[in-house]
Structure formats: C-alpha cells, structure tokens
Amino acid sequence: MRPFDYQRAERLAHAAQLTAQSDTLALAGGTNLVDLMKLQVETPQVLVDIGRLPLGTIEAEGDGLRIGALVSNTDTAVHPRVRADYPVLARAILAGATQQLRNKATTGGNLCQRTRCYYFTNIDQPCNKREPGSGCGAIDGIARIHAVLGASTHCIATYPGDMAVAMAALDATVEIASENASRSVPVREFHRLPGDTPERDNVLEPGEIITAVTLPAPVGGTQIYRKVRERSSYAFALCSVAAVIDLADNRFTRADLAFGSLAHKPWHDPRLADLLIGKEPSLALFDKAADLLLEDTQGYGENDFKIPLARRTLAAVLCEATGVEA
C-alpha cells in the first residue's frame, strides 16, 4: 500500500470536485478498493471518503424504487419492497460474497467492483487494464474465470459481480452526479467492453459520483437468479443468469435476461427477448435462444467450458421459469 491522503467529503459537490483530481479515488465500503490498495493494484494519492454523504436511503420513486449509492448490499437485499417487487435483485445480492462483505459493500461500490482476473491483481504480471500497454497475461495463461463474450485482444477480464446482473435484467438506471451536472445511464450501458481501453471498466468520468440506482415500476413475473459456482458460497460465478420471465396463454410475454461472468460487463442481448416473446416455451426454443446468445463467443482454452455451461444454465433457468421438463 502506498501512503495516501485521506479526505472526507461532506457534500456531494465537494466529493465530485475532489474526485475530479488526478490520482484520486472515492471510498465507500472499501471491500474491494482497500484490498486492491494493499496489493498496490490501486495506488491513489488521495482517497475521498464519501461514506457520510446522504446517499444511504431507499425510497419510492413513482412506481419504482430508488436505491441510494451508499445503501449496503445487505440493506438492499432485505428491503421489503426489493423482496416483494424485485426478488431477482435480492437473490443476486445474497448469492454474492459473504454476510460480512455484504454488510459493508455499497450499491455504487458494487457497480464499480473491479475484475477478479488473476493477472490484474498481481502487479508483477502484465495487464493492460492495470497498466495499459503492458500486455495481457491471461490470454496465454490461466483463463478459467475469463470472458467468452465481447473480449478483445487487449483484455479478456470479466465483470465479476452479481448485483449488477440482476439490475441489468431489471433495466435499472444509474444516476450519476458531477460538480455541476447530473445524468442517468441505463445499467445495461454503464459497464463497457474492453476494446483497446480496458483500463476503463465503465462510463464514469473523473469527478462523477454514482448517487443512486433507480428500478423501474415492478413488472412481476417469475424472477430467478441462478449462479453456477464450484463451492456454494463465497465464490464468484463461473456463469450466472438473471431472469424476469412472464407467460400468458403459455407464451412468453416477458423475457428479460442478463448474464454474469461471461463478459467485461453484465451481458444483455435484446435479441433474446425478441426471439422468445410470443412463442411457446420448449427445449428447442431455449436452445435457439442459446444459439443467439452464444453466436459470437470465443473461448481461451481453460474457459471454453463456459460456453456450454451458459447454454445449459440458460435452459435450466427457462425450464424453472416456465415449467418445461428437462
């Protein structure tokens, strides 16, 4: 860990002003950032503690729900409205990390969680995300946990989280403030693909602070978060699926799907809903959906298994949601 200056932001504008400076990072729960600082993966000169900003409440917003950026993962997962109206989100959060980590981790921080790529977290290895231009150790290395969709020759890292995958299925919106302005970005567009700038995980600009995530009005349906992993807790997903599914007259009327640990971002492919809606559920149809989803996959040896695994996990989720027998 490099020595750093610590500042506490008392107001949002102040926080935005401070984090606009170079080598400055915002600190919320610290469950990811502090670990990375110990490893010298992150070496900010200034940490701006935003923990005291008034962003820690969950409130109704129209028919939807606004979750403040500093609400802990635990508080979100146990909130009565989240449990009643957005169960996929509660389930996704509870599938992640451990109770202790969820107590500290925040909404905004979780969206900004960095990759678990082994080469990113080891400063003695090349990594274009950590040190642009240094190369990618994972492509020819141990790529077990890496991306099969949307990767580039510069980076095959994944976004590792669970919460954002459910938010992508729910089509939630990220609210962002800077010193003099604010904007909204759909969760589905918040994270980026690596391309030739893998150092940028998401669309946040310096000086921008996430203030909340807004969930649209509840849509009901069957909500499932399915996380495949080697051990049953405290493990990142090999592959995950968040689904909001509804049927009428045994035909899909809603099929909002998002996938975790397959790409540099929670993966949402609008073509899946287009394919499924209006059709009768069947194994053959689920297979077609998987064909579409996995049209442009590329494995890197060790992670080739993710491609059939994603197909099967999608089928499992759709079977569970529709009652189709395997």
Partner: protein, 728 residues
C-alpha cells in the same frame, strides 16, 4: 522412565487405572482463550521497540540476484534496514529435516521466492518500501510444467507379473487419474518475532515441531542450538505447512541479530501461498486384475509427482497402496519430475490424501464390472498379511468400518447402477471408499511434576496445532496420577521444556502421549517406593493413593515437596515387526445438478479405527476436519500455475477454494475402539490425517452413482462433471 519400544505393550494400563478420564469427551482447556481471542498467537506478542519486517520476493522463476539497491529505500520514511544476508533461506525446511533449508535466498528457484527483508518502524512503511526495493536479477528459463519434463523413478515395488495378471483377469480396470496441487491454507499466516540478547535468540513463531525447528533455525543462522529458544504455545493451523522452519523466522532472526532490536515478520496471505510448501500435483495409473468373484490377482499403482531440483521429498502417493488390498501380482512405482514451482512438501496427509481416492475409484469400477456390491468387493480383498513384506497387521478395523459404517449410513448392499434417483434438477447417488493411513511414532520426552498441593504440571515442547494436545496430555496424566484434568497444567510449545515429538504425520498423540504416560509411570514408581509397595498395586484416584492395606492423600505423601519424573519414548522394533496403520471407511451421498454439473455433498459418514481414543471429542473433531478436507479435495481445491512463468495465480482464500460452511453437511463420525500395543504403549494410533485418506473417492463414486459421470481428474469441478455426464 525411558522406553525404546521393542515389543508390543498389551498391558492396556490405561484400562486398569481408576480415574476414568481417558477417552472422555472433555472440552479443550485452552478453548475459551481461543474463542475469545485471548490465546496469543505468534505475531500478537507485544514486544517493546519491535521493528516490522516485510519479505521481498522476485518475479522470476529461476536465476540469480545480481544486486539489491538498499539506497532505493533507505531514505523512505521509517525504513531502518534492508537485510540481504546470505543466510536468508529461500524455501521452508522439509518436515523433520533438522538442518537449514536451501541457502542462499539470492539463488532463485521459483517464482516469488523471497530474497531480502525490508525492516521499518511500522508495518505499513516496511510494506511500501518492500514494493520499492530495486533488485537486479538475471533470469533463466526453466521447466515449470511436470507434463513436459523427463521423470526419474524414485521407488518401485514389484512382485509377480502384473501385465500377465491383467491379461488373464476375469475383470480388470486400467485407469489414469490426475490430481492438482494443494495448499495447506492454514488460517494463521506464517509469522515470527525474533529477539536477540546476550548472544541468545528467542523467537515466537508458529511452528509444528520445535525440536527440529530449533535445529533448523540454529543451522540456518550458524548458531548453536543452545543459543536458540522457540516459543509456540498456540498454532493457528499447520496442516504440514509449519513442519519445517520457514523464511520469515530466519529473516526475522537475522534482522534482530543485525539490528539489536526485536523484529516481527508476518507473511502476507499471498506470500504464504506462493512460498510455503505445496502438495505436488499427481498423475496416477491404477490397474486392478480380479477373478470371477472379484478377488484381486493383480494390483498396480503408478504415480508421477514433482518437486524442485534438490528437494528430497516426493509425495508418497503409494504409501497405503502397499498393503490396503490383496493381489499377488503387484507393481507400484513412483516417479518424480523436477520443475520450478515452489517446494513440494507435506500437506495434510501426504500420500494417502491423493493416493487412496484413485484406488477407491478403480475399486468401484471393478465392483461394477464384476457385478458386486462395492462394500462387499472391498471386504473380499482385505489381505491376510502385508502383501509386499509379509508382516502381520497389528490391528485393523477396515472390515468393521465398512460394515458398521454401511449400517450407520443406510447403505443398500447391491451392485451399483448409476442414475437411479432424481430429485428435480438433481441426481442423487451414494458412494463408498476405504480409508487407510500409515502409522508413525517418533521420539518424545515430557516432564510431569506433582506439586505439593496435589496438582500436576506437564511440560514438553510439543505443539497444539488445533488438534487437542492440551486436552489429551492432561487426560493421560490425569488417568495415570488419579487427578482430574482441571488439576493438571499442561505447558507446551517452548524449547525450554523437554523435547517432544512435534505435531506432524498424525504421530503427536501417540508419541507425546506415551512420553507423558512413561513420566507418570515413573512417578507411580516413586510413590510406590515411598510406600514400599509394588507400583502395580497402587490405585490413584481423586488425589488419593490406595494400596492393599492403606490409603493416603497424595498431598500427604508428597509432604510439601514437588516430585517429578521425565518420560522418554523411543520407537523400537515393535513398529518394525508389524504392519501398523489406521483404517476406516467413508460413505457419501451427493447431489449432482443435471444442468450445471455442480456437486453438493448431502451427507457423509466416516467410521475409523484409531487405536485407543484418548478424547472422544477432539478425536471426532479431527475426523470432521479430515472429512471436510475430503470435500475440498474432491470438488474445489486446486493450485493453478501459470503455464509460462510457473507463478501461482490463485494465492488467496477467495480464489483457492477450501470448503465453506455451506459445503459441509452433517458429518457423522463413528470411532471404533481398539487397542494396538504395537503402535504405542498407550495403544493409540494416529487420527489427524486418516479422515481425509480416501473420502474424496467416496464422493467421486457417489457422483458416478448419481449421474453416471466417472471423473478422472480432481477436483471434480462442474465443468469436469458436465463433460463426463452422459447426455440423454
């Protein structure tokens, strides 16, 4: 009392004594300290003026350190010194080495080897400076992949003609397996605080075998053993990783000697993973030849393991294959590949932890071919005498464990056919495996003192690595001296005490327990002499001494003066004349997800014969720990090495997956009482490791029984199960 055990001790003295505490499920005397955070571990001592040291590693797989630029950090805040003494060690010592590990540290043999120590006033300053230290190295390319180098035969046992037996067999199995490397993954990282005063060194450290560690540290530093004192009363898990002295203790000592101030060095979690012993990955071939009734006519087990050039340790994969099952035509062969990953050494039941489960899978395949219940097949193949050397077995609860375990588990005795039960998405199946682990005892001394107030003190440099040593040594002494264990103060983990056996190879309880037993026999003898009666005529109970014709309070007999005796136990011919091992059986029920290949263990039963049970609670706890490792071994644990530079990529507890609570269902443990007078004078064998010797095979067999996936690569991660699962 000194005993070199040349013949069995079948007197079963502890069954004739009166106190009634031996074997009782007593709680650990130090338990409250541990669960309240008040047991002091190595790094936690408050030492005035203590400096902090951080080890500096270099990211090359092999080569030389050309220069270390001390000036690159000496001006940084708080930095006191850079230690690059040529006595620094680059590796940990192997268990029972008793001499310095490889020196100098500046000759680099694996990625991440520590080569220097930065010392500063605070830990944060030292850690930052360690990242800034400029080190010039010359790297060379070396092999890091055991699949890509030539191997050398370490050991071969050959009887009869296995190939012929295979060709003639009514049923045969010939299969290959792989297992990945494992880390001990103890919770407490390796840590030491060294103090140098008046030419004497005191080191608080986290170590398993102080007698050997003292010799290793003294040899590393060029000191006499008498100049070195090690203190290690509590150890937060060892699992083999603290058998030998490791880099941080040597570095802290050198720094303290150079600087004349106390120095603390605590390894980071990443350093523990990257620089401490790994269990070698293995590549194994198992061949079984059997007649129509499933009786083995041939048994073959070959394994390839790896280690650094120059290291003597080779994962003893075939250890229990030598004697577990019959078969007159045998070929057992161990080969070693020399590669540049960190040192391979003892990790949790070296050998059997990866060698039994593969044989147990092959036995299951044979049972299916022969159409025999897998439990019955194993019962049919228990040999009458050691198949290789003809020695008689001293004690063996294998058949009882299989039968009693099957009963407790609710095993259905029938030939197996997979894919018989489905619950929703989950395939349900059950599997069995035998357990076996070689027995060992080593020399141990302990001093027991009766105090004038009628309480007692036990002193030995034996360690308690979480196994229950404090409890059982108090029970042995209490049973022999007629005292409640609460009245016995067990003092461990200090080289100022008589040299014990240390904790390793499951030998601690039988070895140090015997030393305490012998010391108490000495005390009984002294008491009998005072009373002028035969010592076997004494009954000691609740602080009173009774004999034919009288009774006296112990305090009265002591007459205001302490009385002590030292017990000295040495293994002798009794362990040579017999084939001595611990045995057991595992039964597992698993659920395998049809879609994802995820496996969850639903329940598990283990039945174990470990000789005399010294404490039913701590023995059971040891078995639970072993069975938990079985789950990790079977499903999740794997060291992942980069194919290009050989560095370990998953070097923390988030990415190296030991089982979490949710992975571990109710585990049922049956302890099968037995007495083994050849194993030790207290008729006890080892328990710590047996619980993980074979159980992963029961899980593998249950996976096959559930979903039809026969997986030959451990761990059986979802992708491997899915790839092997029949699809229809």
């Amino acid at each position: 009392m000194h005993l070199k055990q040349d013949k069995p001790d079948n007197r079963n003295v502890l069954d004739t004594t009166a106190q009634g505490v031996i074997g009782a499920p007593l709680t650990r005397p130090e338990g409250l300290l541990k669960v309240t955070g008040t047991a002091t571990y190595a790094a936690e001592y408050e030492v005035e003026g203590c400096l902090e040291g951080v080890l500096v590693s270099v990211p090359i797989m092999s080569g030389e350190v050309l220069s270390i630029d001390e000036d690159s950090v000496l001006a940084m805040p708080g930095v006191v010194a850079v230690i690059s003494d040529e006595r620094l060690t680059g590796r940990a010592a192997q268990g029972t080495a008793g001499e310095a590990p490889f020196q100098p540290a500046q000759t680099v043999c694996y990625w991440g080897q520590p080569v220097a120590l930065v010392v500063a006033e605070t830990f944060e300053q030292a850690r930052d400076a360690a990242k800034h230290l400029v080190i010039e190295t010359r790297a060379q390319d070396v092999p890091v992949d055991p699949e890509k180098v030539d191997t050398k035969v370490e050991e071969t046992t050959r009887t009869g003609d296995l190939a012929h037996a295979m060709a003639e067999a009514a049923h045969s199995v010939d299969v290959e397996f792989t297992t990945e490397g494992h880390a001990s993954a103890a919770m407490e990282p390796h840590a030491a605080i060294a103090q140098w005063q008046d030419d004497s060194l005191t080191v608080h450290a986290s170590l398993q075998m102080l007698k050997f560690n003292r010799a290793e540290l003294a040899d590393s530093l060029g000191l006499k053993e008498e100049q070195v004192r090690l203190v290690s009363p509590y150890v937060g898990g060892g699992f083999g990783s603290k058998l030998g002295i490791s880099q941080e203790a040597v570095a802290a000592s050198l720094a303290a000697m150079h600087l004349g101030r106390p120095v603390r060095v605590v390894m980071s979690r990443q350093q523990v993973f990257q620089t401490i012993m790994r269990r070698s990955e293995t590549h194994q071939r198992v061949r079984l030849a059997a007649d129509n009734e499933g009786r083995l006519t041939g048994f073959g087990h070959e394994a390839r393991v790896s280690n650094l050039p120059g290291e003597s340790f080779a994962e003893p994969v075939l250890q229990s294959s030598q004697f577990l099952y019959a078969g007159e035509n045998r070929l057992l062969q161990l080969e070693i590949a020399r590669i540049h990953r960190m040192t391979a050494g003892s990790v949790r039941a070296p050998g059997e932890a990866v060698g039994v489960q593969t044989v147990e899978q092959a036995m299951d395949m044979l049972a299916e071919k022969a159409g025999i219940d897998p439990v019955e097949l194993r019962l049919r193949n228990i040999p009458e005498k050691h198949p290789a050397n003809g020695k008689p077995f001293s004690s063996r609860k294998l058949a009882e464990a299989l039968r009693e375990g099957a009963k407790a588990f609710g095993w259905e005795p029938r030939p197996r056919k997979p894919r018989h039960t489905r619950e929703g998405e989950w395939w349900i199946g059950t599997g069995v495996a035998s357990a076996a682990r070689v027995h060992a005892v080593v020399e141990a001394k302990a001093r027991v003192t009766l105090r004038p107030d009628g309480t007692a003190v036990v002193e030995t440099d034996m360690t308690d690595i979480g196994t229950g040593t404090y409890a059982i040594l108090g029970q042995v002494a209490g049973e022999m001296l007629g005292l409640m264990p609460d009245d016995i103060d067990v003092r461990l983990g200090d080289t100022d005490f008589p040299a014990g056996s240390g904790s390793g190879g499951s030998w601690g309880a039988a070895s140090c327990g015997s030393a305490v037993f012998l010391a108490c026999e000495g005390l009984r003898k002294k008491l009998a002499e005072r009373l002028k009666v035969a010592d076997d005529g004494l009954t000691l109970k609740d602080g009173f001494v009774r004999w034919d014709g009288g009774e006296k309070a112990l305090t009265e007999l002591l007459d205001g003066k302490p009385l002590d005796a030292t017990g000295h136990f040495e293994p002798g011919d009794s362990t040579e004349d017999m084939a001595i091992s611990s045995y057991g059986a595992f039964f597992a029920e698993v659920a395998v997800n049809h879609w994802t290949g995820e496996t969850r263990v639903r329940r598990m039963t283990g039945a174990f014969g470990i000789g005399r049970v010294l404490n039913a609670r701590t023995a059971r706890s040891q078995c639970l720990g072993g069975m938990t490792w079985c789950i990790g071994n079977a499903l999740t644990e794997t060291l992942l090495f980069d194919p290009n530079d050989g560095h370990l990529v998953n070097c923390d507890l988030a990415e190296y997956h030991v089982p979490v609570n949710r992975d571990v269902p109710d585990l049922d443990v049956l302890l099968l009482e037995e007495r083994d007078g050849s194993a030790s004078p207290i008729q006890a064998k080892g328990v710590g490791e047996l619980g993980l010797c074979g159980g992963a095979g029961a899980i593998a067999n249950a996976i096959y029984d559930a979903c039809g996936a026969r997986v030959f690569a451990y761990p059986m991660a979802p992708n491997r199960v899915l790839a092997a699962m029949p699809q229809n």
